[in-house]
């Protein structure tokens, strides 16, 4: 069925509601903004007037039968999926839904260790057991890569009872695994393929970019429309393939999702979907060109390494997302997080994140060459003023986690807070991570090793924003004391 992608059912229903000048005797109590003038002055009357509750002409996110249903069908069509679900709890809720819909208590799920915290959070909720595949890591760049097909195959052979395989498509840094082969492999063994596409929305609208999960035959994909798709923060879409029962997925979503879905978020999904369907190709062609320009300029400064498709190795780096501007700072003698701080504090430039060895600047169609020039100039200045000997820089190695307990069991177990340096050899009862990128250094149920403690100390020293522990200062850590 060919749908008309110029339609925007949620948007149109909201416009119609405004024309009808309905008198609101329902929530929200701000009554189109009239009850909170300061907020209305700040956000604008237009915005407040469509911050409304579900009502007959606007459908209901929990049980869509009219305009939301239609908008979701249009989204499914645009993304070439069997079904699409609008999510208002971020891509986090989409990731949790994929896992809860496929894994019950005690079921195994095969995933790379560099998943986002939301995936491991979902394991805490479902009681599923992670089987980690070592994502290859690149010593020069100091980052975890994708999963090689042979590693996934090995994990499947060792765990034939696993229910699902999860793939980052791509990673935060833009690195893709061979998602088509991994999908075929999973399906041959009766496993579902779940794709975390928080950083891959644009793959669906530009054939020059790596393969999108739905095209590869995946069963689920969580796409962050609010990242490269242009919708409002916190809005996201869950896509499902032919072999997935959409009504069961809806039930799972309704376990945790609000019953008061925001129409600001929903309309932003609807309108962004239309924009992507009609103009996506052009938009991402422009973004690709801008990112290339930025990489060329940054690489000409010296010492910085803005990497691209040359790092592809047809295995753990099967493909690379050229819209990502990841820059390795190792040869400048500065940690990525130090460059991130300098850009912010000295040059008024906010980038997406800095980790131990890299920075990531987010490029979108809203950028112009002159903003890219500011970034390049500031990086040149940072090199001139702050370059250091790279001796003593942390040599990142993949730390193979030792999972001794299910994340759920560890998280809800009896725990005790101890000083970080006393935690060696204990079972971790919570997360430790730098945010962003939000990839756990430690997850519940894993053994705390000296290697990991050294890494945490180094990351803190360099100024990484650490999070995850109950102790807000990250000086103490919860260890599991029960069984």
């Amino acid at each position: 069925m060919e749908l008309n992608q110029t339609e925007m059912p949620v948007y149109e229903a909201l416009q119609q509601m405004k024309r009808e000048r309905i008198v609101p005797f329902d929530v929200p109590g701000h009554k189109h903004g009239k009850a909170n003038l300061e907020l209305t002055e700040f956000l604008g009357e237009k915005c407040m007037s469509v911050d409304v509750n579900s009502m007959k002409p606007l459908d209901n996110l929990c049980h869509p039968i009219s305009v939301i249903k239609r908008a979701q069908q249009l989204a499914a069509d645009a993304f070439k999926a069997a079904n699409a679900f609008f999510m208002v709890g971020g891509t986090t809720s989409a990731v949790q839904t994929m896992i809860l819909a496929t894994c019950k208590e005690g079921d195994k799920i095969i995933m790379p260790r560099n998943v986002h915290r939301s995936a491991i959070n979902a394991l805490i909720l479902s009681g599923a057991i992670p089987v980690y595949v070592n994502p290859d890591s690149d010593k020069r760049l100091g980052i975890s890569l994708g999963m090689s097909v042979s590693e996934v195959e090995k994990a499947i052979e060792e765990n034939p009872d696993a229910k699902a395989v999860m793939v980052n498509n791509p990673t935060y840094y833009g690195i893709c695994s061979d998602i088509r082969s991994i999908t075929q492999l999973a399906h041959r063994h009766g496993m579902k393929l779940l794709a975390d596409e928080a950083h891959g929305t644009h793959f669906y609208f530009d054939e020059e970019l790596p393969m999108a999960a739905m095209e590869a035959g995946a069963d689920f994909a969580s796409v962050s429309m609010h990242k490269s798709g242009g919708s409002l923060t916190q809005s996201s879409i869950l896509l499902t393939g032919q072999g997935v029962n959409p009504d069961y997925v809806r039930q799972i979503i309704n376990l945790t999702q609000t019953t008061s879905g925001s129409y600001l978020l929903l309309s932003s999904l609807d309108m962004s979907r239309k924009n992507l369907a009609l103009n996506g190709r052009e938009i991402f062609e422009r973004v690709r060109a801008l990112a290339k320009y930025a990489r060329d300029e940054i690489n000409s400064i010296g010492d910085y390494y803005a990497y691209c498709r040359e790092i592809i190795n047809h295995d753990s780096i099967y493909d690379f997302d050229v819209t990502k501007l990841s820059v390795n700072t190792f040869d400048v003698g500065l940690a990525g997080i130090e460059v991130y701080d300098l850009l912010r504090d000295e040059y008024d430039i906010q980038i997406e994140f800095g980790d131990i060895g890299n920075i990531l600047a987010y490029i979108s169609v809203g950028d112009r060459e002159r903003e890219i020039e500011r970034l390049a100039s500031a990086l040149a200045e940072i090199r001139r003023r702050f370059k250091k000997d790279k001796k003593g820089m942390f040599d990142h190695e993949y730390i193979n986690p030792k999972v001794v307990m299910s994340p759920k069991n560890a998280f809800f177990n009896d725990k005790r807070q101890v000083e970080l340096n006393e935690a060696k050899g204990c079972v971790c009862g919570e997360f430790v991570m730098c945010y962003p990128p939000g990839i756990p250094i430690l997850a519940p149920g894993e053994i705390i090793t000296q290697e990991i403690l050294d890494y945490i100390r180094y990351a803190k020293e360099k100024g990484c924003f650490m999070t995850g522990t109950e102790d807000i200062e990250i000086k103490k850590i919860n260890i599991v004391t029960g069984q």
């Binding site: 300029e297 040059y347 500011r374 500031a378 200045e381 001139r384 003023r385």
Partner: protein, 283 residues
């Protein structure tokens, strides 16, 4: 019929000039460019609706941005000019026979074309053989230069729009690198009077003070700019603008000026108390 050009100086203040006729209007890749004729101010150029120059008072700006550093540094040979598409800065620079090379980096080629056609008063020396015009973002150009120039003149638009990059710390830092060890940089430094302009002025000053050992500010009266009270920045690695200034040597050159003179040079660095305070706040 009455036709008026109006520029908003603040949300509550407007400045208007009665227009005789509009000569040119176009949108370039960077900005909207307009040229008008008026009785009081003669021909004038606006970019994105902001006054850039009028034939009547442009001499003040151009003389003050060029002759002040030229009277301090006695042997300027290689000059970089950023912006200045109207050619006014170039006209003043070409009065110095000792200057050997002038690189002019302007982002918008159309501005130069339009000025050549409609504003010969300022663009008259753009064809001087010492002048090389490079159409590029000034920030990008200066990033690749090192230890080359005796003088950099930044004749930019306001820090909102295409000129924004020329008010940043990365720009001033790159200029520092592009200058020789006794080099001077002079920049258009906004106005201290209206609050929004004063904030932009302070911000620029803070950024430049962080980059150069000597950073002073001087003033001039420019009737068609917001409030009429305008500032310039003088920064250097070595020279102080009044202590290292040689009035006799400059007067020997015999350059004819309408606004600048060597007595005014010293006086221009004496600032009103409230301006001194604004500057001190960010130093």
């Amino acid at each position: 019929m009455e036709l008026w050009f109006t520029e908003r100086h603040t949300s509550d203040v407007k400045f208007s000039i009665k227009v005789d006729k509009q000569l040119f209007s176009a949108q370039s890749d960077f900005q909207r460019i307009d040229v008008f004729d008026s009785k009081e101010f003669g021909r004038f150029l606006t970019l994105d609706g902001y006054m850039m120059l009028t034939e009547r008072d442009e001499f003040i700006y151009h003389e003050m941005i060029v002759h002040v550093p030229m009277a301090v540094h006695q042997s300027v040979k290689n000059v970089l000019v950023i912006g200045a598409g109207d050619g006014g800065v170039i006209r003043e620079l070409t009065k110095y026979p000792a200057i050997e090379n002038i690189d002019m980096v302007e982002i918008d080629e159309l501005v130069v074309e339009v000025c050549k056609k409609y504003l010969p008063l300022t663009s008259c020396r753009l064809d001087d053989e010492r002048v090389n015009i490079i159409y590029q973002d000034g920030l990008k150009y200066v990033r690749t230069r090192e230890n080359e120039y005796d003088l950099i003149i930044v004749d930019s638009t306001d820090p909102f729009g295409p000129g924004e990059g020329l008010f940043t710390k990365e720009f001033y830092g790159n200029c520092y690198k592009a200058l020789k060890e006794d080099g001077i940089i002079v920049n258009q430094h906004e106005s201290p009077f209206y609050q929004e302009d004063a904030l932009a002025m302070q911000r620029a000053h803070k950024r430049i003070v962080e980059s150069f050992g000597i950073s002073k500010v001087y003033q001039a009266h420019i009737p068609t700019y917001p409030s009429g009270h305008w500032l310039f920045g003088f920064s250097s690695k070595k020279y102080h603008p009044t202590k290292d200034f040689d009035a006799a040597a400059w007067n020997m050159l015999g350059i004819k000026t309408k606004y600048y003179n060597t007595r005014l040079h010293v006086g221009a660095f004496a600032l009103p108390s409230y301006v001194e305070e604004l500057l001190r706040d960010v130093e």
